[in-house]
Amino acid sequence: MAAASPSVFLLMVNGQVESAQFPEYDDLYCKYCFVYGQDWAPTAGLEEGISQITSKSQDVRRVLVWNFPIDVTFKSTNPYGWPQIVLSVYGPDVFGNDVVRGYGAVHVPFSPGRHKRTIPMFVPESTSKLQKFTSWFMGRRPEYTDPKVVAQGEGREVTRVRSQGFVTLLFNVVTKDMRKLGYDTGPVDTQGPSLP
């Protein structure tokens, strides 16, 4: 690969799913996966993962700490379809069934550097009160057919969701050859804060 004129750019993401705040739930684990466009291909690392089960911290913050590492490298020819990380959090309900506690997605930060993202999590709502009760009773809550739908807009208008909590993610983003290909996502602060 000629260094002078690269044909792809690379996006290296590592970081971790740090912690979560789910005020009502405990003993949760999370899954993550990446959703990306057609021009993207993972070259190294894991595209998806499932974390350990964590319990709430005993202090006042009551956070659920996973510190679950993410490490993946993508190559791409087109910023269209920039990768998104999709998170889904699961945990036991009162009857011990594993139910979903939240879905959420966020784009991998565009600019290189260290980024912290806190993403709100939500779950689809039952269509009726009765179904809500039975789903609660039987531990079969409504779930997305595929968690990846939260990373797309199409078809979301038919769903109704309820917010559940927050998950904090930490990204360390490294890009290669983006500038050479004409995509400037450099850090904003070289220009100084653009205040009105």
């Binding site: 689809p124 009726s128 039987m138 779930e143 057919t145």
Partner: protein, 1584 residues
Amino acid sequence: MVSEKSHVDSQQEPRQEEPETGLLNMPARRGPRSLPPIPSASRTGFAEFSMRERMREKLQAARSKAESALLQEIPTPRPRRLRSPKERESETEFGTEPGKEVQSIQQKDDAQIYSRVKFREQKIKSKPQAPPGFPSAEEAYNFFTFNFDPEPEESEEKTKMKARDGTSQEEEAGEEEEPPVRGGSKTDEEGLLNGKDAEDFLLGLEHMANDFVAVRPADYESVHVWLQKEKEILFIPSRLTVPTYKKLPENVQPRFLEDEGLYIGARPEVAPTNQNIMENRLLVQEPRNDFGPSARSQGRRWFGDDGRILALPSPIRPFPCRPLLSTREQSTKAELETLYRKAVKYVHSSKHMVGSGDPPGNFQLDIDISGLLFTHHPCFSREHVLAAKLAQLYDQYLARQQRNKAKFLTDKLQALRNAVQASLSPETPQQSLDTNQKTIKEYKYEIRQTRKLRDAEQEKDRNLLKTLIKVWKEMKSLREFQRFTNTPLKLVLRKEKFDQKADEEAYEAEIQAEINELLEEHTEEYEQKMEEYRASYQQWKAWKKAQRAKKRKKKEAAEEHPEEEAEEAPPGEEPVKPVPPEPTDPGELEQKVRERAAHSRRRPGEPLLLPELSLAGSVTPNEQCPRVEVLRREDVRRRCVYLKVLFNNKEVSRTVSRQLGADFRVHFGQIFNLQIFNWPESLTLQVYETIGHSSTTLLAEVFLPIPETTVVTGRAPIEEVEFSSNQHVTLDHEGVGSGVPFSFEADGSNQLTLMTSGKVSHSVAWAVGENGIPLIPPLSQQNIGFRSALKRADAISSIGTSGLTDMKKLAKWAAESKLDPNDPNNAPLMQLISVATSGESYVPDFFRLEQLQQEFNFVSDEELNRSKRFRLLCLRSQEVPEFRNYKQIPVYDREIMEKIFQEYEKRLRDRNVIETKDHIDTHRAIVAKYLQQVRDSVINRFLVAKHHFLLTDLVVEEEVPNISSEGSGILGLSLFKLAEQKRPLRPRRKGRKKVTAQNLSDGDIKLLVNIVRAYDIPVRKPPASKFQPPSRSARAFSEKHVASPSTHSPAHSPDYALGQVLVRPFVEVSFQRTICHTTTAEGPNPSWNEELELPFRAPNGDYSTASLQSVKDDVFINIFDEVLYDVSEDDRERGSGIHTRIERHWLGCVKIPFSTIYFQARIDGTFKIDIPPVLLGYSKERNMILERGFDSVRSLSEGSYITLFITIEPQLVPGESVREKFESQEDEKLLQATEKFQAECALKFPNRQCLTTVIDISGKTVFVTRYLKPLNPPKELLNAYPSNPQATAELVARYVSLIPFLPDTVSFASICDLWSTSDQFLDLLAGDEEEHAVLLCNYFLFLGKKAWLVMGNAIPEGPTAYVLTWEQNHYLIWNPCSGHFYGQFDTFCPLKSVGCLIGPDNIWFNIQQYDSPLRINFDVTKPKLWKSFFSRSLPYPGLSSVQPEELIYQRTDKAAAAELQDRIEKILKEKIMDWRPRHLTRWNRYCTSTLRHFLPLLERSQGEDVEDDHRAELLKQLGDYRFSGFPLHMPYSEVKPLIEAVYSTGVHNIDVPNVEFALAVYIHPYPKNVLSVWIYVASLIRNR
């Protein structure tokens, strides 16, 4: 106290200045502390001093002796060491120790001096004893050589001193003996200890003793005293509001700039109390600290003109800005880390940056400061004041003279009068009386106005002249009075004489004219007034009358009620009786006019005075002036003035300091070239004055305007800017001072207060570069400023973006929102508006829809369209099939191959061009094209539907629980489930999880084929049997035969040489050219039970549902016989080695389309193996023929079977049918009935297929019975067996089965069952089960049979359609795709369940308990078994058919068929050669021609009952060849399936060196281009 302190100060100071006396400082330092405070300084002070002096001298002398050597050795550390403690000491003494203590000590001492003396005596006595053994030489010397005073106290003192000195000296000496290695700090400490602390310690003892001696009550000072004292010391500023007059200079009214329309920024929020405290403090403290003359004003300089404390505009941001919180806890270590930061170019305040992108601009502003002139200065003498006034007046006079307004007005007046005259004169053509009258009126009005103006101007002129003369006179008198002149000013009045007579006449004429005019005016006025008077008089009269009447009435009333009268008295609202206006008296008027003329006008004959001011006068030299004046002049000479140039409030340069001239002019003549970088915001000159060598004061600030961009150097005029200062100066000489009242009168009346003021003459211009380009920042710069200003002013939010382009709107908005034009924030906006409204900007007269679009166009449209990458992206986004799954579109155009598009473009181009390359036969090509078009349109139809999502597509949710329903009692069931164990001991099989085909890639999907067993595989026939006629009725071979083959066959036969079993079959599965095979089993009924795994690749890597549905690949399951041949050449080797060759012979195959597997998810069952009608070398083991009721001859169709289980891993979710509701031409009632029927059926038997409506090829819902109608089969078929209806039926079925099968899901990518009518089906020559079944059913109906369409499930097709016919006494089930038929009770019938039957006029749903055809009753007349759609409640309405009246068949062109036959043969031969790249492929022509002759025979007999004859014939012809081959029979659609079929047989795999091949193709044409293709493939090996 204070005095003592100062005394000590003075005592201390000189010593501190002598560094070499460091050592001696010690005793001196002790002085004030150790010495008892002196009650009266005069008593002992001097004596003590003298004594101490002496002591010091002696000490010094002695010490210098001793130390000289040491000092030489260590010169440096000593002074440092010794001095520092002293400094510290002095600090403690005068800094921290409050004077109070000293005071109190003094008080005490006064009282108790006696006791202290006593105490000292004691101390002295004890003291010498303390250091007995250490007297040094010096001490001894001192002790003995001193002259002691007789006074006991002093001697005591002295000895004490001496002793102390001695000790300290001693210690010093001791110290000095030590090596001087110590650190400085340590020695410091030591020194401190040596000196002061030791002393303190002693003194402390002293005090202690003192306290012991005298016990007194504790000091108490009353609170009042304390308060009093505090009051002296402390200052507490009041919280009360300071009255404004205190904050302002005397007699100055507060001035509010806001009221004057100037911009005042918002002041920061400060609590009023705090502000009051601050103001009080400033007012009180400032003057106290400063004792200068302008002390008062110093305090006031903190206050602005409005009497408020000066404050900058609020620094608080208008919006909150939260600083970024550091996300992680920073350890101290992290904070200490060095960070590398790349140097960032400093960006200036971005607002006024000049061309931020450009290299720092070379812009230059030239400021030429030519000079300064004071119009008033503190050093002005009275004469100067007058002179300045005179000069000012003269300037004014000159200016007026230049304008000469009076003359202009006079001329105008004259002109107007002439005009009036002219219009009044009758000669002038009168346009109309009215207009004339009107103009005259206007003229007159104008004359009046002009006259007034002229009079005012003339009066002004005159007054000015008068004042000028008056001032000059005053000046002259002043000069006389003071007997010297200070100014060279001299006023000369020149007289200009006129001709008295003419002048007088003119004057008189003027007056007369004026009088006339006035008279006219007055009469007009009078008349008007008279009119008014009359009117009002009438009114008054009327009122009076009414009043009178009232009164009369009242009087009458008053007589009755006298007391009421007083109350009702009118409250004085009676109109005054109007006074008639008096006519004006012309005489009086004339007098008035004359008076005014005399006042304001030059009298006739009076000479015109022209003043001329010159500097010709001489100034009295210094010697002749009085002292005060000389002083003044000297003062003036001492003063220097310079200017500072401030650019954007930053000092950039300053002029040289110039002496003030005697005429108070300063000439600078300096030009400053400012290389600027920022856009100039302000340009200020500050005038500074220095007096002698002392301080510099800021006199005033002069603000210069920024020049227009057109003003460049050389063209800029010199301008004068006035300035003034409010400083107050009082001088002690002739100078009148500034801001101080003074008077010219002797008695001091008529006071005058003048402020320092002056003018700066300057010019500011943009410089011109070398090449003549003005160095001006680009105008765009200002536009940027404009944009940023827009953001702030928030114009967009108020008028919208579009308003910005409309300047008028913007201006209107600015006016409406009362934008402060002086606010610097608004300046760019204002400028823009002013430019826009002045009409300079071009306002387009068209409306731009997307006005910002232009900004985003980075390349032209043509260029964008030329970009291959952009095109690729567009096509992909449009989901064009070729590019829908294109991954990783290259970054650069050059990396995109042109050929990517070629295919697509070709497709577009060929849309209407029929191409025959792939299809060989033109009709098929047309059909294929048509099919493609239908497919495209259907795809487009459903593409939209694909993007419509239902909740169930996105969210998996439990269904609404239903307790009552027995079929799906979810709640009850699941409640039961809750109780069951989570991990039961006997696990049950659970369904696999389905995967949506979304995120799959190559290799993720596998096809699992489990081959269980097979039945009735054909077995080999020994070659010996060639002469025996085959027996039909019995098994041809038994175990015995095989067990002892040698008895039958000759030894040279390889078959039997190895003692093989009947057959050694194995199964080979090929899918997408991947081949897997099982192990070899033995015997005709083998059991493998093996699982084969084949990878699946989706076309183009597209694993979407739509793509998977359209996979056309088939799974071929081929059964082979493995044959071992002994190839040993030599029998002698047979004992030592085995040389065998494995050959495999194709026996048959099962073909299952992938789409079937995909939709069925799993295929499980026993399938009939498709065995070629002639299998040379093999024969079937004959089963005992079971009479299945139709024909005993049919027993041959009983074939071989294989049991399979096929599935896909992971399980893919097949796409669902389109939920679109299609339009329909059916009756609404019928549609409702169908829905109801289907719902009822589904409720009872959800698994049984119920079909009432279908979708036709144009996408409309059609009732299904409309498809069934008797249709004529081709004539040839009917004529073939005119007497045998059964044979005809079979032939018809065969004809139908020859139409290629193509599932709808393949042709119409999404799931939707389209039913084409029979003529469409025949035109398309492709369709799935329904079309075949409908056509077959229609033919049977034509043949007069009772026929129904059977909707049910079959293997391997799944939901499918069969045809049921009623023969005389039994039912037959026809498979329309294969043409085979089965009896109702045939166990091998592929139809496994029956959902409903469809006849031409009704639909019957199966409501029997079972649905297997074996167990149900097909009698549709029984309503308990069959639920009919049309019944008595809903009679059949007589629906018309969608089928055509008659099918028309064209004869197929025989020649074309023959041609196609040749071409196919050629292609296949080439293919076989291609598949054998490493071997020579020989074709046996003789065999080929034999086979070719044989194939039509096969067609005629439909592949039955020809085997034995054929074999016999073949053997006859090819006696010495071992022959293995078979004919393949297929319907013809394309060449590709033929090739696949040949490939799958594996004929080409034989690699025997001398193998020869034979291939023959025969195509039998049926009407309507239905072609039956026979391919005979064979391999021949010559026997030796």
